[in-house]
Structures are given as structure tokens and as C-alpha cells.
Amino acid sequence: MRRLLNSLRDGIGFDTLLVILALSYLMVFAGLPLIYNIVISFQTVDVFSLGTLVHPSAGVENYESIFADRQAATVLWNTVIFTLGSVALQFTLGFALALFFHQNFTGATWIRGLFLAAWVMPGLVVGVLWNWLLSGDFGVINYVLESLGLIDEPVFWRSNPETSLYSVLIANVWYGTPFNMILLAVGLSSIPEDLYEAAELDGANAFQRFWTITLPMMRATIGAVLALGVIFTLQQFDLFAAITQGGPAGSSTVAQYWSWELSFREFDFGRGAVISVLMIVLVLFVSLFYVRSTKAETQL
């Protein structure tokens, strides 16, 4: 007891205590569910056996049946398109906006702040918003496209299997671009101005300065932004729930949504867990990339 009091007074050992607290928190609320998830991916679990602690083993049956499922190929393909498309567009738009606002014209800070409004909205709200925008009968998007003469009759974006995935993708790009912009803007502003001045005197034009100074100096930031983009996109659930519910006919189902459907619609918890486990492995690799790029930070 006295040692504890002493440690509080001197701060010696207090740091250890804090670390132990943080670790136990992580263990209980992140570690255990993760392990449990892996365990049930090898078991047969339904609504009736969900409450019990021990379930019948299923071996690798769940894994086999997931890969054999005729939806698997579509879901995999959708996930790849959704993730790569979202990340590529969010990053490109975010970078362009960050560069634009880096010019520091009057009002730049204000307008940049407005962009953040999109980012702080709950995903479901963003989903509802895009439902209105994309609506076939009275959506703004159709109206604009028709006025421009690009389409002759309304497109039913969300209920057409050809476009359903892309309606969610567009909403997700809109949702994630401000986040990319902010992180990239921070990276941009950490590049000392005198490097650009030196490069300019060395004869570099704007394009050469971007290519030889900005990009290499931003390597760490870009790696981090891309990795976080992949992770957040793989987590995106609200927009699917609000806009297409994975439909029509599974045409916009991605892995995370399928996992939810299997677990909470079909109550096949084992197969739902299989998808989570596979996604965890993927995210783990992306996180490694993320950690590596934050470590390789360019410094003077």
C-alpha cells in the first residue's frame, strides 16, 4: 500500500501502471472479441447455440463454403472496385484540394473548414443525403445531367445493378475526400518554404518542383493516407445500409456488408466470422504498410 502511495507521489512506477491499464483495456475490449471471432469462424454457430460458450467444431467447413458460394466472386470483385476506386478518387481529389488551398488566397482557411463539415457528419446521414441526390425521379444529379444533355431519361442509380455499387462509391468518395485533404494539407505545410525557393533558383519550374520536392517530401504522408484510406473504406458500412442495402440482387454487396448479412440476417455466425477473419488479415497487412511509412518519415 505504502509503495503504491509512494509511486503516486513520485510518479515512479506510475507509468507502468498506466501501461498495464491501457493494455488490459485493449485485451478485454479488442483482443478477446478478436480471438472469439477467429474461434467461431471454425465452429457451427446459430441463434440457438449463440448463448452457449462451447459450439460444435466445423473444421474448415465455413471457409470452404464461403469460397464455394456463388456470391463470393461478385463480392470479392465489388470489394476490390469499391476499395481501390474510393481510395484512388479520395486521394486524388483530396490532394488536388490540398494543393489548391495551399495557395493561401483570402478565405482559404474558411472554405477549407467548410469541407470538414462533410467529414464530421454521421455515415447514415450522408447516406440519406445521397439517396436524395441520386434519386431517380427527382434527384439533383439526374436533373443536372439532363440539363447538360448528357442523359435523355432519368437513371435509377440505386436500383440499377449496373450502377448501384457506383452510387455508394460516389457517396463514399464525397465522404472521405475532406479527411484526405486535411492530412495531405498538413503534410504540405510541413515542407519548408525555402526548399521551394532554393529549387526555384536552381531552375525548377512548378511541375519540376512538385515532382522533385513535394512528392518525395510527402512520401510518408502519402503512404499513411493511402493505408488509412483502405482501412476506412473496408470499414464502410453505413453508406451501404442507407443507400442500396447491398442490392439489387447483391449487385452492390461488398465483403463487410456480406459478413453482416450472413451473421445478422441469416444468423450463420460462423460464416460471417470467416469474412471478418479474412478482412482482419488484409487490414493487418495494410497496417504494417502504414506503420512502415510513418516510420520512414523524411526528416532533416
Binding site: 526548399l195 529549387a199 526555384e200 531552375g203 519540376q208 522533385t212 520536392i213 526528416q299 532533416l300
Partner: protein, 356 residues
């Protein structure tokens, strides 16, 4: 011969702030020009205006007789050494040195050769593959110099390049920079707040204050014939003493010091006219017999070994320097002498030098 750099009535405004006023400066080819002045006087602004990093608000700027007012920095063909060095952190020393050549499309083999050559000149042969963060301050400074000399620019611009180095290295680099300038026959404009650097390195010194050129000329000209009290006080170390006084009309000036001593001057002028008398510490000689005397009491003595600083008692305090060591102690009464040719007189109101 056309001047390498020429500024005619150059103005620079930052909003309502007038940072440079009527700057006229001519830099002939091969000359080493120093810009000096106190902090905030506009030295960097002037240098950056020449480089094109700042747009001038008025006047004409010519480089090799071509008006460059609207030319972007990359087309001016000047090299600049920044106070912060501004090395590219993500490039090796070799790539830093050859960056300009690479932009110019010089072949890889030629770039490598140029890098070796320059590294030899600045003494960095062994460090070519290091990153800037793996170098000491002095080595970074050399890389910054090397990056400037690897191409043959029309002029070199330096913005306090030595101010981040320790005192000993600074003295050495002073000579090296000047030697380099002479060897490659460069034209240089060098900004510093250190008047000793300016005096020792430059052919031509420009003294700036609050955006105005107070005086420009050869270093010894500024020392011997300062145009005004500001230049007189700024050039020379330790700084000139200023004592109020009045002309007697008989070739002397009476100092407002205890005992109202009179000393000879090289000008007549109306009797009773108030003046500020400037006396350099090194021109005051202690206790010699000929000439007029200034009786003073020594208040404090500082010995550095090579020279001795004597501070007089009373107001204004007068500083006297003597060479070597001195037997004089605080409290001693001594008399000071000064040759009439070493007495500077200034108008107390305008600060301008009075000449007879």
C-alpha cells in the same frame, strides 16, 4: 563595361509598409558587395528582390543589362546560399549538388564528374553519399556553397551564410568564401549583420537602415569618412564614442565632459555651434604629452590579453582601447589625446557629418 547587377530607384512595399526606398546600387562584374545593417533594415528583402523571390514595387532591376523586373527566379540564372542552407533533405549530398544540372538535362556521367570536382573544391569528397541530416552544421554550409558554385551563375547571393557557425569556423569560412569568389571570378552580393564580416570580405560595402542606403563605398572609406552618425557608429568595432560639444571657432571643439576640455579639429565653423563629436576608441591615446588633453578618470578596465578596454567614469562614458596589456587600473586619472584628423563632427539634429 556593363554592370553585372544594377538597381535603379528600386522600391519595395509590403502593403502600406515601405521596406526598400530608392535603392540605387551598381555591382560590377567580379565585385564582392556586402549589404550590412541592423536587424529588420531590409537586407534580406533587397537580396530576395534581386533573386526574384520578392517582386519589386518600383524602379528597375537589371542583370547583365537585361531588365529582369518581371523575370521569375529560375530564369535569372543566379545562385543563392540561404541562412538555413535549404538543402533538400531527401537527397544525398551528390544529388543536392547536381540538382540544378539535372533540371538542365546534363547527362548522368557529366553530373557525377561535376559533383566530384565541386566536392574537391569544398572538401566534401567523402560525404557525397550522405543525407543532409547526417552532416554537421559546417558541412551543410559547404554543401550549400557547393550547390551554388556547381553551375556558373551570373552572380552569387548570400544571406547570412555563416551566422549559424561557431566563431572560429566563421572566421575561417570568411576567408574561404572570399578566396572562392576570387578563384572562380564570381560576382557576389553578401548579406550580413556583422560589420566585421562586411569590412573584411567585401570590395564595396552598402550600409542600410530602415530600407534606405545610408552610405556605400569601399570599407576603409566608410571607416575613415562616414557620411553620418549612424554609419560612424555602425562601422568599426568597438563602436565610436559620441560626446556632445561646441565649436570654439578657433580650430578646436569644447567637449561636454568634466573640465570642459578642448581638442583640435580640422575645421573652423561659427563659434558656439553645437556638434556631436565622434571619437573612435582606437584613436584615443592614453597619456602622451603633445596635443590637447582630455582629463578623465577610469571607471572600469577589461583586459583580453591582446587589447585592453578602458571605460571612463561619468556620462557620457568614453571607451578607449589600447593594444597589449595595460597597467592602468580603475580609479586612475589619465589624460587622453586624439589627433585632429581623427575627430569626427556631426550635426546633432540631422546626424550628418560636418566637413570643414
Amino acid at each position: 563595361m556593363t554592370p553585372q547587377i544594377e538597381l535603379v530607384d528600386v522600391q519595395k512595399h509590403y502593403g502600406s509598409f515601405h521596406a526598400l526606398k530608392d535603392i540605387n546600387l551598381t555591382v560590377p562584374k567580379g565585385q564582392f558587395v556586402a549589404l550590412v545593417g541592423p536587424s529588420g533594415c531590409g537586407k534580406s528583402t533587397l537580396l530576395r528582390s534581386i533573386a526574384g523571390l520578392e517582386r519589386i514595387s518600383g524602379g528597375t532591376l537589371r542583370i547583365e543589362a537585361q531588365v529582369v523586373n518581371d523575370l521569375p527566379p529560375r530564369k535569372r540564372d543566379l545562385a543563392m546560399v540561404f541562412q538555413s542552407y535549404a538543402l533538400y533533405p531527401h537527397m544525398s549530398v551528390r544529388d543536392n549538388l547536381t540538382y540544378a544540372l539535372r533540371l538542365n538535362g546534363v547527362s548522368k556521367a557529366e553530373r557525377a564528374k561535376a559533383a566530384e570536382e565541386v566536392a574537391g573544391v569544398i572538401g566534401l569528397e567523402d560525404l557525397l553519399d550522405r543525407k543532409p541530416r547526417e552532416l554537421s552544421g559546417g558541412q551543410r554550409q559547404r554543401v550549400a556553397m557547393g550547390r551554388a558554385i556547381i553551375r556558373e551563375p551570373k552572380a552569387f547571393l548570400f544571406d547570412e551564410p555563416l551566422s549559424n557557425l561557431d566563431a572560429a569556423l566563421r572566421v575561417r569560412m570568411r576567408k574561404e568564401v572570399r578566396a572562392l569568389h576570387d578563384r572562380i571570378g564570381a560576382t557576389s552580393v553578401y548579406v550580413t549583420h556583422d560589420q566585421i564580416e562586411a569590412m573584411t570580405m567585401a570590395d564595396h560595402v552598402v550600409v542600410l537602415r530602415a530600407g534606405v542606403i545610408e552610405q556605400q563605398g569601399a570599407p576603409m572609406e566608410l571607416y575613415d569618412r562616414p557620411a553620418n552618425r549612424f554609419v560612424a557608429g555602425f562601422i568599426g568595432s568597438p563602436a565610436m564614442n559620441f560626446v556632445p560639444g561646441a565649436l570654439t571657432g578657433a580650430g578646436t571643439v569644447r567637449l561636454e565632459l568634466p573640465g570642459s576640455p578642448e581638442i583640435g579639429v580640422e575645421m573652423g565653423g561659427e563659434a558656439g555651434r553645437a556638434v556631436t563629436v565622434g571619437l573612435r576608441p582606437e584613436h584615443l591615446i592614453v597619456g602622451r604629452e603633445e596635443g590637447a588633453k582630455i582629463p578623465v578618470t577610469i571607471g572600469a578596465v577589461e583586459q583580453t590579453g591582446s587589447s585592453c578596454y578602458l571605460f571612463t567614469e561619468g556620462d557620457p562614458e568614453v571607451l578607449v582601447t589600447t593594444e597589449g596589456t595595460s597597467a592602468i587600473r580603475a580609479g586612475d586619472a589619465v589624460s587622453l589625446h586624439v589627433a585632429p584628423g581623427h575627430v569626427h563632427l556631426f550635426d546633432p539634429k540631422t546626424g550628418l557629418t560636418l566637413r570643414g
